[in-house]
């Protein structure tokens, strides 16, 4: 049976704003809140209140007031999950929110698993699968760009694009199949060549979608950024300088989740997700050597590498070992310590490593806006306008798209190998099916219908 127990979670992210919503869903939700909520005015019991009503009061534990709150009541099926749902709007900050959530749990709810509200909405028939996934992304989207894209998906622009690719694939399968079924009426002469052309076009479309989805991921999850460089190049002061802009907000978090949040830097609407910065940070006063091996490992994971060079001392073996490794990566070279006597020029660096070079002084916080410009230019241009373009927003969709791509590549391979046409349709069908998985559609009778609709069968 479907789990219909009552679940609860903080519905907003536990951030500094201090205003947050605790959402409780399930048959017990209203009675649980009734046990801990004390209305400001004398009124009917919460369990007797109508749907869509708002109540002002306090949350009380053992006679002690935890917070002043507003309680919203929504009765199923007219709620997001289609179950009875209560939302507690509180503003006492992260700590108090935790306390209230713990209290709700103590009174009989259980902590919701990630995405469980959406899952219930889905299982209760409120939303379809791809909507559910987009909503999960909305919940976890970390900045404005990502939010826009998630909402767009709800409108179905991904579906439209994938549908059009899918239709083209289906047409080709139907053509092959009708020829196999009725070889005396429909000929496949010269077909492999024309199919090859079409497959190339489809692959281009898919590549574009995948590339954009990669950018989409960057927007949602942040740009995984590694700062590398020799000891004393000024990596940690750069990090501090970058954090500086956001520090006012960051510090309000009061240490609760400090370690993870500190790894994120917001930069003009983009998020830099710092890789392994804890290590770098810790080394604020005691700097260790970052070996080539370590740099390699960090670079594997990174979308962006900030390579910090101390401009006040000449390049050495260490630099020359690191630089060749950066060739294929997205790198910005930062010539730091320009406040001191400069011994290295940008041109000199570029002789070894053809990457953009920016002169900065982390200490004096100079050159940071040029760095921001550069990052924005790297990740936000390329004709990508967030209002119109679409991309795959989660791993499941992306994996399926990769599968479709691989299948189409197999078709290409089969054509080049001179395999017979019935093999193409095996891989084309796989591609069709994979594309269908992204938008939640199965193959069903599509092929048979397409064959009869588009091709005149004999007899």
């Amino acid at each position: 049976m479907l789990r219909s127990d009552t679940i609860a979670a903080v519905a907003t992210s536990m951030n500094a704003s201090g205003i947050g919503i605790i959402r409780i869903s399930g048959t017990e939700s209203i009675s649980i809140v009734e046990k801990i909520f004390c209305p400001a005015k004398k009124q009917k019991k919460l369990t007797e209140q109508k749907s869509y009503t708002i109540h002002y009061g306090t949350i009380v534990e053992d006679g002690e007031v935890l917070d002043e709150v507003i309680v919203l009541l929504m009765r199923g099926p007219h709620s997001y999950t289609a179950e009875d749902t209560v939302e507690i709007d509180c503003h006492g900050g992260v700590y108090v929110m935790h306390q209230i959530l713990n209290l709700v749990i103590k009174k009989g709810a259980r902590v919701a698993e990630p995405g469980e509200f959406t899952k219930r909405a889905f299982l209760n028939g409120r939303i379809d699968l791809s909507q559910a996934e987009a909503v999960i992304d909305v919940i976890s989207s970390q900045n404005t760009y990502a939010l826009k894209s998630s909402i767009q998906q709800l409108k179905g622009s991904v579906q439209r694009l994938i549908k059009s690719i899918r239709e083209k694939v289906l047409y080709e399968i139907a053509y092959i199949e009708s020829a196999l079924d009725d070889p005396e009426h429909i000929s496949l002469e010269g077909y492999p060549e024309s199919l090859h052309k079409k497959i190339k076009e489809l692959l281009q479309e898919i590549e574009r979608l995948l590339k954009e989805s990669e950018q989409g991921k960057i927007l949602r999850e942040g740009i995984r950024t590694a700062i590398i460089g020799k000891p004393n190049a000024g990596k940690s002061s750069l990090l501090n300088a970058l954090l500086g802009e956001e520090r006012a907000i960051v510090t309000e978090i009061a240490g609760t989740t400090r370690d993870t949040l500190e790894e994120q830097i917001r930069l003009r609407g983009l998020t830099l997700q710092m890789i392994d910065t804890a290590g770098i940070r810790k080394t604020g006063d005691k700097i260790e050597q970052i070996g080539v091996e370590r740099a390699k490992q960090m670079m594997e994971e990174a979308d962006l590498i900030l390579y910090v060079i101390d401009a006040s001392s000449a390049l050495d073996e260490n630099d020359k070992e690191i630089m060749p490794l950066l060739k294929e990566k997205r790198v910005i070279v930062l010539l730091n310590k320009t406040d001191l006597q400069e011994r290295i020029t940008a041109e000199e660096v570029q002789r070894f490593l053809e990457k953009p070079v920016i002169r900065i002084s982390a200490k004096e916080e100079k050159g940071l806006s040029e760095l921001a410009d550069k990052i924005e230019q790297m990740f936000l241009t390329g004709g990508l306008s967030w209002n119109d373009e679409v991309y795959l927003t989660n791993l499941r969709q992306k994996t399926a798209m990769e599968e479709a791509k691989a299948s189409l590549q197999k078709v290409e391979e089969s054509i080049l190998l001179g395999m017979s046409e019935d093999f193409y349709s095996i891989d084309l069908m796989d591609a069709y099916e994979a594309l269908g998985r992204i938008i939640g559609e199965s193959v069903g009778e599509d092929l048979v219908n397409e064959i009869f609709e588009k091709f005149c069968m004999g007899k």
Binding site: P183, S420, G458
Partner: protein, 622 residues
């Protein structure tokens, strides 16, 4: 009124392609079997096209043969031309098609029936299915006679309430003017069985003396004929063959059709039945594909002892005068003498979702059905179902476990699963694209897939089964030998590869690796393969296919594994779909009607979405 009463084990209603296979299976499994036909002269009649097999249908015939059915053996004895279709394509889509001598086919099948122990042919019309507490007890004939039976198999084809139509002429007869069966429909409805009305059609037959073949392209049979049956000696089918002829319609033909569309019963609304999309009438083709300025027309002989030629591609229900005018626009048919007019035929059949995959009615125990009555079309589809219905009816009487051939085992499985699971709105025809594992379900390996089942059932002799085991052993041994025989990059080998425009070897390779190259063949390798044993053609064919397409075959085997997983997730019989929250209403209705036995089957029902399946899974696991 006095009437006779007869006791029998199994009653088969109808002696077409389904009925013959059903009755033979039951009788051969030792049951006293009575087969009814409205005319003994029309046993195994081919009222439409004069051929057996064709793309995917050829697969069915081979599978029927592998299971111990009769169709393949009879066509091997009565064909007058044979072709392996799609020979230039992959092995999965090779398909045999033979032109039959219709009269001979019918006679030979009748002779088989008449020489089968336990089997009695009776010419009579069955009027009523007798049942008690939704359990079949026998049939009543129009004469009033009662046949008591433990199982009844309905194979009424296109005869139920049949009506033949062209123009405004309509007669209440079965095909070829044979007597229709008019009583049974009401009896079925009384049992709670839902009926559909389907339609199909056939072209005119033209006297070949009136045809100018010089204006047509001659279509020959294969030089070397491959038999349908695994038991037929290949040498016995190398006989002189008869040609077919190809010509085309033209704009003039299409003009005449367009000008007379309003006189077609299909367009005037006189025909209500749903017709098949895969063999549209010529008027359908002209309307639906108006951009095509010509359509192919095949002239096919109906047999050696008749002048009649079948006009493939031009079935129609237009009035007689239009037919005469229309056919005569076709090059070579200018002076055509029509022997029989084209006509459409409407008939009652069932919604096959009322059947379980064993082809027994879910609601009436002991009542089975097969063939066109189940909403399919085609002789081969009919025979395949007849065989399965026969086997299961016999096993039911013998109290043995029912047999279901699943989608990964044969086209027969695909056919039956599609019929009983999916919504079927037109006569169903087999197509290779309907099979998701077609690289495994080849016509050449039907014996390996199904003969073990035929043996277990009792329709395959021990000798035949052992021969198959030997063959499988030889294939296995030779495959292993090729995988393990390494050759170096010697000049002899490089030369050989060059000869077949294959890239030179850089390092040593196994013979199997070389064989996997698309341009290489098993026979090409013989000069560099010293230890090659002497093997039969059929063994070599299997070795070559298995090695060459190993990658694809492995992929499909993996998919089959996935498929089996979902098939094995059973849905309890007493499940109450109304009680499952969040299943969409449409899905609930479809699931209640089809009563799928597994999640796998449920996922194939049209109208049940992947989201519904998720909900169902969550519900079943909860």
């Amino acid at each position: 009124m006095a009437y006779i009463e007869v006791d029998t084990d199994v009653v088969v209603v109808g002696a077409g392609h389904a009925g013959c296979e059903a009755a033979l299976a039951c009788a051969r499994l030792g049951l006293l079997t009575t087969i009814f036909t409205v005319s003994v002269d029309s046993i195994a009649l081919m009222p439409c096209n004069p051929n057996i097999g064709g793309s995917s249908k050829g697969h069915l015939v081979r599978e029927i043969d592998a299971l111990g059915g009769e169709m393949g053996k009879v066509i091997d004895k009565t064909f007058i031309q044979s072709k392996m279709l799609n020979r230039s394509k992959g092995p999965a889509v090779h398909s045999l098609r033979a032109q039959a001598d219709k009269a001979e086919y019918s006679r030979v099948m009748r002779r088989v029936l008449e020489h089968t122990d336990n089997l009695w042919i009776v010419q009579a019309e069955v009027a009523e299915i007798l049942a008690k507490d939704q359990k079949v007890t026998g049939v009543r004939l129009c004469s009033g006679a009662i046949y008591h039976a433990k199982a009844v198999i309905l194979c009424t084809g296109t005869y139920l309430k049949a009506r033949c139509i062209y123009g405004d002429v309509s007669t209440y007869t079965g095909p070829n003017g044979l007597q229709a069966a008019n009583h049974l429909s009401d009896s079925l409805r009384a049992l709670g069985i839902e009926l559909y009305r389907f339609k199909t059609g056939t072209p005119a037959r033209i006297d070949k003396r009136s045809i100018d073949f010089s204006k047509m392209e001659e279509q020959f049979g294969d030089r070397r004929v491959v038999p349908f049956s695994f038991t037929t000696d290949p040498e016995s089918v190398q006989i002189p063959q008869v040609s077919c002829w190809l010509t085309y319609t033209n704009e003039k033909t299409h003009e005449i059709i367009r000008a007379n569309l309003s006189r077609s019963p299909l367009y005037s609304g006189d025909i209500e039945g749903t017709g098949p999309r895969y063999c549209p009438s010529i008027e359908d083709k002209v309307v639906s594909f108006s951009d095509k300025n010509r359509h192919q027309v095949f002239l096919e002989p109906e047999g050696l002892y008749t002048n009649e030629m079948y006009v493939g591609g031009m079935s129609s229900s237009l009035p007689e005068d239009v037919q005469h005018e229309m056919y005569r626009t076709v090059p070579g048919l200018e002076h055509a003498q029509i022997v029989r007019n084209a006509y459409a035929i409407e008939y009652d059949c069932i919604n096959p979702q009322q059947l379980s995959a064993t082809l027994e009615f879910k609601a009436v125990s002991g009542l089975f059905s097969g063939g066109q009555f189940n909403g399919s079309s085609g002789y081969e589809e009919a025979a395949a179902q007849g065989l399965v219905a026969g086997i299961n009816a016999a096993r039911k009487v013998l109290k043995k476990e029912q047999i279901v051939i699943d989608r990964s085992k044969g086209y027969i499985g695909v056919l039956i699963d599609d019929l009983v699971t999916k919504e079927n709105k037109e006569p169903y025809r087999m197509m290779t694209s309907r099979s998701e594992y077609r690289l495994l379900l080849r016509q050449d390996n039907a014996d390996q897939r199904l003969t073990p089942i035929g043996y277990e059932v009792g329709l395959i002799s021990k000798e035949r089964y052992e021969r198959l085991q030997e063959k499988i052993q030889l294939i296995q041994t030779e495959k292993e030998r090729l995988e393990h025989t390494m050759v170096g990059a010697s000049s002899k080998i490089q030369e050989l590869l060059k000869k077949y425009q294959s890239a030179e070897l850089k390092t040593a390779a196994s013979l199997a690796e070389i064989l996997r190259r698309p341009e290489m063949r098993y026979e090409y390798l013989s000069p560099i393969d010293k230890e090659r044993p002497v093997l039969s053609e059929e063994v070599i064919e299997q070795v070559e296919i298995d090695i060459k397409y190993d990658g694809y075959i492995k992929r499909q085997l993996k998919q089959v594994e996935q498929f089996r997983k979902l098939e094995s997730k059973k849905i309890p019989e007493n499940i109450d779909y109304d009680k499952i929250p969040s299943l969409r209403l449409e899905a609930v209705q479809k699931l209640k009607l089809c009563k799928p036995i597994s999640i796998g089957q449920a996922s194939r029902i049209s109208g049940v979405s992947p989201a519904d399946i998720s909900v169902l899974l969550v519900y079943l696991e909860g």
